[in-house]
């Protein structure tokens, strides 16, 4: 009892040390904490912790469960700062827990407006923290700052109009004295943007529209007035490179999703990665993965930054600042993150909408592969080859890991469409190749494809190994310095693989879909692995 009280005093004494931006930049040097959505500004979701190994991972056991009082999907990745775990109970309640026991310190309850119209659930993917302040985007498109000691609201800024279809679902990104978010709502004909707010006041510092307006470069890629309803939403967190002072964000589909007729042109900067000056929001470069998309190929994936040996123009290997990206459109990309130069693009699942790239790295579209009134078969299918769930990169194995939906098609239909504010603006729909209705809980026919964790060698795009699942997956991937890989899927398993070869080392049944990214932290030298499944958050550690 007294030891526990002492421990709490110790934790309380350290937790309220400021989370300075320098600490966030050096997050990899304090692996007991998990300071940002993806672990570090490079978003590798890789941890230096190594108490849990490939040998002892079989001895993991459940330490605690936090049961959310919400029936929405639990997609948040928690933050852990000096023994305190902060997460979000959907839609927008912030919870502070003891990271070793799961006991709650406080709850900040936010009531979103009933006018909020998020397309795909009243969900939230997590928080950002700076100093003693937590930041959360809300489903009714507000950004709130909450005191990490007390759970009290510090400021509340309206980012966009909820009733027009705008919402915030991803964890914000802190860069220096600004907190950066982007708006979701790509099925509602919004005009997407990324904006930075002063961490102290919530006042907007800059805004970058992902759909350029009159007088801005890229406006010519939208026929007529289609830029006003162009979509290009943001719903996962970006990354930051301090040496280049660039912040990188993946953008969503152009609107309407499946009928491109109202928006002739490439539709910049939909389905792209944009590199923005973190101080001004000015565009440094962009790369568009899917010009004039009609398959809902959101490029809403985590921009994963890594430094790799790469051959220069003379064929000499040099360290290069790159970005690794397994896209919803089925292609794995390597880009130069200083310039946006296309270095490599190779399908990582079956793909039939494109046939390779031109010399500038623009995809060459396969003729006839567009949605039609009668329906067109497209690989990958409607949910893409991957989606928002976090990939991982291990500097130890040199491999990139991604949860994927492999080798399936959908039939894409096009219908006429007209815009009405606040209503769905989609222009068609995708249909599964097998009759409607699911055969069984986790049962999938071969034509429906399967979920898998795939390991890709980023230097070649070649697959190193694959762990096949029966059902598909919305789970992120975590790797550690002891060559462990953690992930899960819709079947409700949380499992550990050997990151070197994909062999199964441990599994637990969590009784609910894993639709979140695992993360790891330690308290008093004891390593925990945490993941959300169903409506609960779980923490595992080795048997004592």
């Amino acid at each position: 009892m007294s030891a526990r009280v002492l421990l709490l005093f110790f934790v309380a004494g350290s937790v309220f040390a400021q989370v300075t931006f320098e600490r966030i930049l050096g997050a990899d040097k304090e692996p007991q904490n998990w300071l940002t959505y993806s672990g570090t500004p490079f978003s590798q979701r890789y941890s230096q912790l190594n108490e849990i190994t490939t040998e002892n991972v079989k001895d993991l056991e459940l330490q605690w469960i936090y049961q959310a009082s919400s029936l929405e999907k639990f997609e948040a990745t928690a933050l852990v700062v000096d023994g305190i775990l902060y997460t979000v109970q959907a839609p927008n309640d912030i919870i502070a827990l003891d990271a070793a026991t799961g006991r709650t310190f406080w709850t900040y309850a936010y009531n979103p407006s009933p006018k909020a119209r998020p397309c795909c659930g009243h969900i939230n993917r997590g928080l950002a923290m700076l100093g003693n302040t937590l930041f959360m985007g809300t489903v009714d498109a507000h950004l709130v700052a909450v005191d990490a000691k007390s759970g009290h609201l510090l400021w509340d800024t309206t980012v966009a109009k909820a009733e027009s279809g705008y919402s915030l679902t991803h964890a914000p990104l802190v860069v220096k004295d600004k907190v950066i978010v982007g708006t979701a709502g790509g099925e509602f004909g919004i005009r997407g943007f990324i904006a930075a707010y002063d961490v102290h006041t919530g006042k907007e510092a800059w805004r970058f529209y992902t759909v350029p307006g009159p007088g801005e470069p890229g406006r010519e890629t939208w026929g007529g007035d289609s830029w006003k309803t162009g979509g290009a939403s943001i719903w996962v967190t970006g990354s930051y490179d301090p040496a280049l002072n660039l912040t990188y964000w993946g953008t969503g589909n152009p609107g309407p999703d499946w009928n491109g007729d109202p928006r002739p042109g490439d539709n910049l900067y939909s389905d792209s990665v944009v590199a923005l000056d973190a101080d001004t929001g000015k565009l440094k470069w962009h790369y568009q993965f899917s010009p004039h998309d009609e398959f809902d190929h959101d490029s809403v994936q985590i921009p994963l930054l890594a430094d790799l040996e790469w051959p220069d123009e003379a064929g000499q290997k040099q360290m290069r600042k790159v970005m690794l990206w397994a896209n919803r459109n089925g292609v794995f990309y390597v880009l130069d993150r200083a310039t946006g130069q296309f270095l490599l693009g190779k399908p990582f699942v079956e793909v039939n909408w494109m046939n390779g790239f031109d010399e500038k790295g623009r995809p060459i579209r396969a003729p006839g592969k567009v949605p039609t009134v009668e329906g067109t078969s497209i690989y990958p299918g409607s949910e893409g080859a991957t989606n928002w769930y976090s990939p991982s990169y291990s500097p130890r194995t040199g491999l990139f890991y991604v949860s994927s939906w492999a080798d399936y098609a959908s039939i894409f239909f096009r219908i006429p469409v007209k815009y009405t504010e606040g209503r769905v603006y989609a222009g068609g729909w995708p249909k599964s190749y097998v009759p409607d209705g699911r055969a069984a809980e986790n049962f999938r026919k071969d034509e429906e494809g399967r979920g898998s964790v795939r390991a890709i060698d980023p230097k070649t795009g070649a697959r190193a190994w694959e762990f096949k699942m029966n059902d598909v997956t919305d789970a992120g991937v975590l790797t550690t310095a002891s060559d462990l890989l953690f992930s899960g899927g819709r079947e409700g398993y949380f499992f550990a693989l050997d990151a070197r070869n994909g062999s199964l080392l441990w599994k637990a049944t969590l009784g609910g879909v894993v639709a979140s990214g695992p993360m790891t932290y330690s308290v008093d030298g004891r390593q925990y692995v945490s993941v959300a499944a169903g409506h609960s958050l779980f923490a595992f550690a080795l048997k004592k």
Partner: protein, 254 residues
């Protein structure tokens, strides 16, 4: 707010479709139907794999205008029919619901489809034709095949005929045939209840529910061939089949 609420109440409270027989409403309704309804109810409202044929005069959840409005507006709990507002693709304002109803009236087929002798059909279903060994109707019968209580209204007559004559043509989801051989060599046939990376749950032909760890099975094979035998005209004459369909249509209309 009050004005729009009042307008909503006026439109909802209608017993009859205010847009009935309005050619513009029928045309608009056809477009709305294609966007919001045809995914399940098929092009032309003739039924899909999931939603009933709506060209029939009799509607399962009420045939009057007000009933159809309620079905579309509120959805039908316990079925795949969603409420009009709130999810992608199915999002209709009251006026659009009335347009869809106007359209559905325009494609309604006046003469009911010909069906056979329901009493004789029931006798065959429960007796000589062996249907009830595997299919339930109104809580009685077997479990290896789909429950057929509402099939008479949810599927077209033609598709019922095809399913009886050639059951493997399209297996109903949830009735995938599976054969497993256990470690001790026992072969079991049945239907898959659930499957994941590591385990398999099935109902065998004796209706026993079983769970297996996959790595302990000698083999697992799934087949697109239905456990149901094809009923050719020697096994079941066209007239007897029509009588059974007559029975299913009668039961589903209750």
């Amino acid at each position: 707010m009050l004005v729009s609420l009042a307008l909503t109440l006026t439109l909802q409270a209608q017993e009859r479709n205010p847009l009935a027989n309005d050619p513009a409403a029928v045309k608009a309704g056809e477009s709305e139907f294609r966007i919001n309804c045809s995914f399940c109810h098929g092009i032309g409202a003739r039924g899909g794999g999931r939603g009933p044929d709506l060209t029939r005069v009799h509607k399962k959840h009420g045939t009057a205008d007000a009933d159809m409005f309620r079905t579309i507006h509120d959805g039908v709990s316990g079925t795949d029919m969603p409420a009009a507002m709130g999810s992608i693709g199915v999002e209709m304002k009251d006026q659009e619901i009335w347009q869809v109803i106007a359209y559905l009236r325009s494609v309604q087929v006046k003469t009911p489809p010909p069906t056979g002798d329901a009493a004789h059909g029931k006798a065959l279903f429960d007796g000589a034709a062996n249907c009830s060994k595997c299919h339930m109707v109104e809580g009685k019968g077997g479990r290896l095949g789909p429950d057929l209580t509402s099939t008479g209204s949810s599927r077209s007559i033609q598709s019922i005929v095809e399913s009886v004559r050639d059951p493997s043509r399209e297996l109903v989801p949830g009735y995938q045939t599976i054969t497993v051989v256990t470690a001790d060599g026992q072969e079991l046939k049945g239907i898959v209840l659930n499957e994941d990376i590591f385990s398999l749950q099935m109902m065998d032909t004796g209706e026993r529910i079983r769970l297996f760890e996959k790595d302990r099975l000698r083999s697992v094979s799934k087949s697109p061939v239905s456990l149901m035998p094809p009923y050719n005209t020697t096994l079941l004459s066209d007239q007897d089949l029509q009588d059974i369909i007559g029975y299913l249509v009668a039961v589903s209309a209750k």
